[in-house]
């Protein structure tokens, strides 16, 4: 008699000339665990959908109880609407299959809503903590529901908690990614605005332009300054430009190079460039760096630069003299 051990769960052992057959018990506990997980998973998504109202209430309560609640930035109704929208979408797309796979495409709408909320919060001025409380509050609410409803089976609770934790932690990560992206957008916009507003070219007199530079000069900004200045020289037909750098906090060799370039470009255009407002510490740095500014006209203040410009244009500013004798 031949026994196929692959077909029957039978072990045959030769023992002192006897062959012992023993039928192994079916490993029923494994399959039962698998089915229980499957049903549990189904349970989670169905259960959550059933308990939606409860979860939303818990979540809202958690958010309202938090010390970081910002009623000044967002009304409670708005908050409830936002929370409801997110929970609604999440519970709509959640199924037993995708619950353990947070990279699933099914979750894209959820992540989109989450990103939208996070972005708008970043722009409204919410702190990272306040935004975090929003998402992790949902986690707490969901986990609480799971514990309440599945408490008779600790193993299932454990399994469900781990799955939901993964999903909601991923939502938290996405929230923070977009939150930071939102903040970066704000910073970029402000940088652009600063670059735009801080390089005005003023016409102080017929033929004289003044360019007060405030803030650090870098390559990009010098380029803007240079272009603005040269454009204005062409437009106004000015022959003298005064570059006032009293608002520049520090000068290094690169910045000095940029200034020298600007002066050279103005000269090529046929205008003269005067630099004013060099502060003592900047003068020190320039000399220590060994930068040669000797062929550039430098003046201490904007006033003296203007005076020099008047001299070059053969203009004179005089105090009005009232001749009392004549009037009398």
């Amino acid at each position: 008699m031949s026994v196929n051990p692959y077909v029957l769960p039978v072990r045959h052992v030769n023992f002192m000339g006897y062959t012992l057959y023993s039928i192994l018990p079916k490993p029923s506990f494994i399959t039962s665990t698998i089915t229980s997980i499957n049903t549990m998973k189904q349970d989670i998504s169905k259960l959550l959908q059933k308990k939606k109202k409860q979860i939303l209430e818990d979540w809202m309560n958690l958010q309202l109880a938090d010390v970081g609640l910002r009623e000044d930035l967002m009304s409670n109704e708005e908050l409830r609407e936002q929370s409801n929208e997110l929970l609604d979408t999440l519970l709509k797309v959640i199924t037993e299959k995708n619950i353990s796979d947070f990279n699933s495409d099914d979750f894209i709408p959820v992540y989109e809503i989450l990103s939208g909320i996070s972005l708008s919060r970043a722009k409204q001025g919410f702190s990272p903590r306040e935004t975090g409380v929003f998402v992790f509050g949902l986690k707490d609410a969901i986990l609480k529901t799971l514990q309440m409803d599945l408490k008779e089976d600790p193993h299932v609770v454990m399994e469900a908690v781990v799955t939901m934790n993964k999903l909601l932690d991923n939502m938290g990560i996405i929230t923070f990614e977009t939150f930071i992206k939102g903040r970066e957008e704000v910073i970029l916009r402000q940088t652009d605005e600063i670059a735009e507003i801080s390089t005005p070219v003023n016409r102080v007199w017929e033929g004289i332009l003044a360019l007060p530079i405030i803030g650090t000069l870098d390559s990009a900004r010098t380029q803007v300054v240079m272009e603005n200045l040269l454009q204005q020289i062409v437009e106004t037909g000015s022959t003298i430009a005064i570059l006032d750098i009293s608002g520049v906090p520090a000068v290094d060799s690169l910045v000095a190079q940029h200034i020298i370039k600007t002066v050279a470009a103005t000269r090529l255009m046929g205008a003269e460039c005067i630099i004013s407002g060099i502060r003592p510490e900047i003068a020190q740095t320039i000399v220590h760096l060994g930068i040669d500014l000797s062929n550039i006209v430098t003046k201490a203040t904007l006033a003296s630069a203007l005076k020099y410009a008047f001299n070059m244009l053969k203009l004179e500013v005089r105090k009005q003299q009232i001749q009392k004798e004549k009037i009398g």
Binding site: M226, E227, L230, Q231, I233, V234, G237, S238, T239, K261, A264, A265, T266, R267, L268, M269, G270, A271
Partner: protein, 134 residues
């Protein structure tokens, strides 16, 4: 062969570059201009490059060369009407056109040439006076 016209205005020569200046044209201009300075005894050269929107290092060098050559032949060179983009390019290329005067437009360039010429004449006159008194 294409040439850029060189106009004579009294003691000055006037060159307006209205076309894209390619290398051959630029070298021709350089040679012609030096010839003209020699022939007319001009005291100043005014080059209008307001129509020039693109410049390369070769062009920058030619402009500088014209300035230096004219200087040796006792004529001042004024380049007028340089576009901002051209000025920035030249500065980035490290060409500062030393020995060439610049002005915003033809009018201001002419003014500049006149003042240069007048001051030169004054110096000559005072020198002549000094010689006479001796």
């Amino acid at each position: 062969m294409d040439r850029i016209p060189i106009l004579r205005m009294g003691k000055f020569l006037l060159v307006t570059i209205q076309v894209d200046l390619y290398d051959r044209l630029a070298t021709n201009l350089e040679a012609d201009l030096v010839q003209m300075v020699n022939k007319t005894g001009a005291r100043g050269v005014l080059i209008d490059i307001s129509a020039l929107s693109i410049v390369d290092s070769f062009m920058g060098r030619i402009l500088g060369n014209i300035g230096s050559m004219a200087r040796i032949m006792d004529a001042e060179t004024v380049v007028v009407g340089m576009q901002p983009a051209v000025a920035i390019t030249l500065v980035e290329l490290g060409l500062e056109l030393k020995g060439v005067h610049t002005a915003l437009n033809v009018e201001k360039g002419m003014e500049l040439l006149h003042t240069k010429l007048n001051s030169d004449e004054e110096v000559e006159e005072t020198e002549a006076d000094a010689d006479n008194t001796e």
